[in-house]
């Protein structure tokens, strides 16, 4: 029984129980029962929901859980050298079995792999049956239980509302689980990485050469893999600095002009245009950066007699800066508009020119909000991925010169993790360690910005 038809069956059972419950309620009405607690449909919802919700939860748990069970049962098939071997050996053995299960054959598999694969297929068939039987059984039983429970005095509406309440709570907690998921998925792999590579080598290392990993493993010479994150950190910093240098003045002045000078006509034209700039996907910016801006920057450099790398930090940073302009301007616009009009009146009443009122009264009053906007913009620049993947290089140069090619944390993560990865290699794991650093930095910046904003709000409350 396929998953879709199983879910469909469960829904049909639920609908049937809904009808049963509602019908019961209607009959009570028809019989002239005056003290029926809830409307008939609530009796229907009650029986229907009790019949479906636990069954579907059971289905999710069982279908996600069966693989774990099989994996542990697979151990009895592994030959001794695999069982004695390390995690890598076991992972390779598992892949061999899974390939065969999916019908992919590379040459003639070892006999134990054949046996394991056929056993796995057998378990899977059995598990499908068991899951189908268990969930349908659970659904029917729960439905009968619910139907038995209803009586005119039974508070069906309250029951249904309690179920909805718990559903809402469950949905809300997804945000927590996602955060936990993010932290755990990155943390575990990072810990494994730090078992292979000392923490201080990663944090303070000046060289980043994971590409020698394969060569090292194969035993051929050529170089040692090193995992120092400083070059990428500097690269990220460099590109973000260029981006912020572009985005903050342009975004801030745009916001000031729109909020204080522009008429409503200008505003109604310019604001949507800036929003379009914000809505352009990053992959498009990346394409534009790589294809148009980088060659342009290089050509300008050449005409001035300056050597510019074809994948310069400057080009990527410029385009990233443009991407962030609307972000800065909309945040600044909010904080500038939050400055009370009475302060502007006071300044104008004393004879300030517009720019004096803005520079000496509005901006100082809005400063914390603007600082927060800049911090958030930095955080966004650090986390931006596609522009740097497409327009910045992969060479991990430790350089502070924006005309050089540098690489960033995000582009290394993408390079390492997109495509096929090797199990348990320090190279693969290093991407998770980089991601951990990325998360810590962006969340810290976000937290800091929120603190600043909070202080700022208190000032006007």
């Amino acid at each position: 029984m396929s998953l879709t038809s199983l879910i469909f069956t469960l829904l049909v059972i639920g609908a049937a129980y809904f009808y049963l419950g509602q019908h019961w309620g209607r009959r009570q009405w028809a019989l002239g029962s005056v003290n029926l607690h809830s409307l008939p449909k609530y009796y229907g919802f009650w029986t229907g929901l009790v019949a479906t919700v636990p069954a579907i939860l059971l289905l999710i748990i069982l279908s996600l859980g069966d693989d774990f069970l099989f994996k542990s049962m697979l151990k009895q098939f592994y030959p001794l050298d695999v069982l004695d071997g390390d995690v890598v050996a076991r992972a390779i053995a598992f892949t061999k079995v899974m390939n065969l299960v999916e019908g992919v054959r590379f040459g003639v598999p070892e006999p134990w792999v054949e046996a394991a694969a056929s056993a796995w297929i057998g378990w899977q068939k059995l598990a499908d049956l068991v899951i189908a039987a268990a969930t349908i059984g659970c659904s029917l039983a729960a439905g009968i239980f619910a139907y038995r429970k209803i009586s005119p005095a039974f508070r069906a509406r309250n029951g249904v509302e309690r179920i909805i309440l718990w559903a809402l709570i469950a949905c809300s907690s997804i945000a927590i689980f996602t955060t936990i998921g993010i932290v755990l998925s990155v943390l575990f792999e990072s810990i494994r990485f730090f078992k292979l590579i000392p923490f201080q080598d990663f944090i303070f290392g000046l060289e980043w050469n994971p590409q020698f990993e394969g060569a090292e493993r194969a035993g051929s010479g050529g170089g040692t893999a090193t995992y120092g994150m400083l070059p990428m950190f500097v690269g990220t910093f460099l590109i973000s600095a260029v981006a912020i240098t572009v985005a903050v003045p342009v975004g801030l002045f745009s916001a000031i002009y729109l909020a204080e000078y522009a008429g409503s006509r200008t505003r109604s034209v310019v604001k949507p245009l800036l929003e379009i700039l914000a809505g352009v996907p990053t992959v498009v910016y990346g394409f534009f950066a790589a294809l148009t801006v980088a060659p342009f920057v290089r050509a300008v450099g050449a005409s001035l007699g300056i050597e510019v790398a074809s994948e310069s930090a400057l080009a990527a940073g410029l385009v990233m800066g443009v991407m962030i302009i609307p972000f800065v301007s909309s945040l600044s616009d909010d904080v500038i508009n939050a400055v009370p009009q009475s302060l502007r009146d006071a300044a104008y009443g004393l004879g300030s020119t517009k720019s004096e009122a803005i520079r000496k009264v509005v901006l100082p009053a809005a400063l914390p909000g603007i600082v927060a906007a800049v911090i958030l913009a930095v955080s966004r620049a650090i986390g931006e991925t596609m522009i740097v993947v497409m327009a910045a290089g992969l060479a991990a140069n430790l350089s502070f010169n924006p005309l050089d090619a540098v690489t960033t944390v995000t582009s290394q993560i993408v390079t390492i993790l997109s495509g096929d990865q090797e199990f348990e290699s320090a190279k693969t794991l290093s991407a998770f360690a980089l991601a951990l650093v990325l998360i810590i930095v962006t969340l810290a910046l976000n937290f800091f910005a929120l603190q600043v904003v909070k202080k700022y709000r208190e000032q006007y409350d």
Partner: protein, 280 residues
Amino acid sequence: MADEVIGTKEVNFQDREVPDETVGEVFVNNPRMTARNVSVYYAEKLAVDDVTLDVGSSEVIAFVGPSGCGKSTLLRCFNRMNDTIDICRMEGKINIDGDDINDPKIDVVSLRARVGMVFQKPNPFPKSIFDNIAYGPRIHGLARDSVELDEIVERSLERAGLWSEVKDRLDQPGTSLSGGQQQRLCIARAIAVGPEVILMDEPCSALDPIATAKVEELISELREQYSIVIVTHSMQQAARVSDRTAYFHLGKLVEVGETKQIFTRPVHRLTEDYITGRFG
């Protein structure tokens, strides 16, 4: 100062036509500011309807009337604060010392330096007390050096009767003062620029009675040097502080005259109804 109010004979303005609705003497013999046939529109809505009125030198004139009668709008015309509202449009003429304030040659900045304003809610800048006062002199380049600036700040605060209360904490934020002190700070801030006229838009409406009394006392002291136009909701306040009173109703200037006369012998029926509390 009732003796300053005189007849129409010695006047150097040609247009002395008083709108039909207005009762009482709108002209004075040494006007500082003059409004002639001023109408103000918010988009299409008429807020001030054909008002003609003089503001004398060194007098306190109170604008009273029910809410929405246009008294604040007219007040804001005197230093062109309405320029900051896009949809607001003014007709007619307002002069200060004979100069048209809407003349393109007059810079709104220098106009506002001559005609200061105090607002309904105390609005000190989120800066120190010192910087609040020094703001105006700094932007206008009034002080040649820091000694002079210090002196302007001190004199302004003294003038506003605030010096003794704040002299030890000039570097604290202006927002840390009490409401009444904040409003006197705002008055001191206006004085520091050296204005001729001070416009006050319900300056005491956000203050408690004691703070109100102090501000009123200050207004009485300031009348010698400045022309003061005060919009107020409180009839008692108008009676206490003003030399002349103008009563507005639905955008029209209904009656203007000596405060004593307005409160004891109002001529117009509407004025009488209002001051005797029959409506408003």
